[in-house]
């Protein structure tokens, strides 16, 4: 308790004393009502966003609850040494990269293709209907979808396997066979996000100047040429931004999806960093180790976003900041 208020208080003191070009007391007084509005929100960010960031220090400590974050003894890089030496860590790291990479190569282009195709539907009403239907899975949580797909893909009572058997095939244990399970993780992720992900591209397409298409039509350009030489280049900045954000997610696996769908039969391939972190931290109470795993993951994700952004800026001057 004490540590939290200290950290929050310390941070707000430091801005109060920061140098300003005009007399600070005057500016603060003029803005007193605005400051009043600003305080609860900023206090929230300091306590619930920055105190946990400060809490990452327990990755370098032998944390125990009674002594708290401040009181627990420093142990340097011991936890990281233990983490890097353990077989379990590298296995979940590998699983994370494999699943994320597969979800990225399918899930990233899918909404772009969907947006391009949807845009080719000329009549507005069917277009709107297709679009609205495609958003549905976005609103449904992975807990529900996990329950749904477990039933849907069941080898004995799921309709997919009934169809497979009706066609003379053998039932497939989608959720219990490691290879099939990875396939299901990839397919359901695309299924859930394709419609929602397309919004941003559709918005960008609708912003393209119609005269460009007219001019191209007059020049005799077909559908394919227009898509290649007008639509896609116009989408490039949006695609770049989405790409930067997606790259950061490569190590941030989809906890909600995997945690709700996996089971002991497929742990070997689907135990990922976040599920490992959860079990180590909140089930085995190895707080320091779990925090170290989380820190490792967050630092890599952060570095990748920064790197991708810098690269994008150098290539076509369209980063996120």
């Amino acid at each position: 308790m004490a540590t939290n208020t200290d950290a929050a208080g310390g941070a707000s003191d430091s801005i109060a004393t920061a140098p300003r070009k005009q007399p600070l007391s005057r500016r603060l007084w003029d803005n007193r009502y605005l400051i009043l509005l600003f305080l609860p929100g900023m206090l929230y960010f300091l306590v619930f966003r920055y105190v946990p960031i400060y809490g990452l220090v327990i990755a370098f400590k032998d944390y125990n609850f009674s002594e708290g974050i401040m009181g627990s003894p420093w142990i340097g890089l011991e936890v990281f040494k233990e983490m890097f030496a353990s077989h379990g860590f590298w296995e979940v790291f590998k699983n994370t990269l494999v699943i994320s990479a597969l979800q990225f190569v399918t899930g990233f282009p899918a909404p772009i293709i969907f947006a391009l195709l949807l845009n080719e539907i000329a009549s507005l009403r069917p277009k709107k209907i297709f679009q609205t239907i495609s958003y549905l899975p976005h609103f449904v949580s992975w807990v529900i979808l996990a329950g749904l797909f477990t039933q849907f893909l069941s080898p004995s009572t799921g309709p997919i396997n009934i169809l497979i058997q009706a066609m003379g095939g053998k039932p497939i244990y989608f959720m219990a066979d490691p290879q099939w399970f990875i396939f299901i993780l990839v397919v359901t992720e695309v299924w859930k996000s394709i419609g929602w992900g397309s919004i941003i591209y559709l918005a960008a397409i609708s912003g393209i100047d119609a005269e460009m298409y007219e001019a191209a039509s007059i020049d005799g350009a077909g559908r394919w040429v227009k898509m290649k030489s007008i639509t896609l280049p116009s989408l490039a900045p949006v695609i770049t931004i989405m790409l930067i954000l997606a790259i950061g997610k490569l190590v941030n696996d989809n906890f909600d999806q995997i945690f709700n769908m996996y089971n002991p039969a497929v742990y070997r391939v689907s135990d990922v960093m976040s599920t490992y972190l959860y079990r180590k931290g909140l089930e085995d109470m190895e707080y320091s180790l779990a925090t170290a795993v989380g820190l490792f993951k967050n630092v890599i994700a952060f570095a990748m976003v920064i790197g991708a952004n810098a690269l994008a800026k150098r290539i076509n001057d369209s980063g996120i900041w």
């Binding site: 605005l34 195709l117 000329a122 329950g147 976040s274």
Partner: protein
């Protein structure tokens, strides 16, 4: 391009491509909807849905599954907890987000850029699961609704969207109020917020759906069974196959009813999904608007 042509009244597109494209879109829609259709028919079936082959209609149509699920007190308590957290969480989140965004939308606010950077940074870096859990425990929020409301109260993303929107409001609007001696708080609530109605709707729905779907925080921050949200209750019944399921089955059997566990599970999933299925066609446009506002600034 298709839409542009429609607007210009032009036609004559490649018919083969159009047929294929429509077919693809139909297939996509069926693929999206069919799992939900299966869930609905399964929840209305007295017998195992797939007994005796593939079917699009319920087998042995019945409401028994729903009866059993609605009579289960755990579901009712779960619903209460979900509604409670959604109501408190959404209203508080709106209040704090808009109050924070207004000062930081104004150029003259001291330290504006530094504060904004501090907030935006949290979009890309966080303490993660364990430090957040330790914080919630140390603040003694465990087993209270605040553990579900406070940790995600304001997101940097929502903040940026609201602030960007507020920056487009012409300053002349507040100047006349200032002449009349109104202070900044009065101006925010009387003049600025009424202009912000569309963005309020977007953020409110966004936060409300997030709360409705949230389950993990309830799992780690709430230890009492009576405090858990409906999504988690559903998870226990369907994914973990808790005694709730066997109890409901046993009760049905005592009353001489025949029900399949699949049907009962499907009804349990449906009960938590129905509200979303019913409201999403009406709220999706606000969601879409929010995504587009977010994309303006990137």
């Amino acid at each position: 391009m298709g839409i542009v042509k429609a607007r210009l009244g032009a036609s004559g597109a490649n018919p083969a491509f159009n047929i294929l494209n429509y077919a693809f879109m139909l297939l996509m829609s069926v693929t999206t909807l069919y799992p939900f259709v299966f869930l609905i028919t399964s929840s209305l079936s007295g017998l195992d849905m797939t007994l005796g082959g593939f079917s699009l209609l319920p087998r042995d149509f019945t409401f028994t599954n729903y009866q059993k699920v609605f009579r289960n007190p755990a579901i009712a308590t779960g619903y209460y907890n979900t509604i409670l957290r959604t109501a408190i969480g959404t209203s508080l989140s709106l209040l704090v987000t808009f109050c924070l965004a207004w000062p930081l939308a104004k150029k003259a606010f001291p330290g504006r850029n530094a504060w904004t950077a501090l907030i935006v940074f949290t979009m890309f870096f966080s303490g993660g699961m364990i430090p957040a859990y330790i914080l919630v425990r140390q603040l003694h929020l465990i087993d209270t609704v605040w553990a579900l409301v406070l940790p995600e109260l304001v997101t940097a993303y929502n903040f940026v969207i609201v602030r960007n929107y507020m920056q487009t409001i012409p300053s002349s609007m507040e100047e006349s109020a200032k002449m009349d001696g109104a202070n900044d708080i009065v101006i925010l609530f009387r003049i600025i917020l009424p202009v912000c109605k569309p963005i309020i709707a977007t953020i409110a729905l966004w936060v409300a759906v997030w709360h409705w779907n949230a389950w993990f925080d309830s799992m780690i921050y709430v230890t009492k069974a009576s405090g858990q949200v409906v999504q988690l209750v559903m998870r226990r019944i369907v994914l973990e196959g808790s005694d709730q399921l066997t109890q409901m089955m046993a009760e049905a059997q005592r009353q001489g009813m025949v029900i399949a566990p699949e049907g009962l599970k499907a009804a349990t999933i449906m009960v938590t999904t129905i509200p979303i299925l019913c409201v999403y066609p009406f709220i999706q446009k606000y969601f879409v608007k929010g995504v587009m506002m977010g994309s303006l600034k990137g």
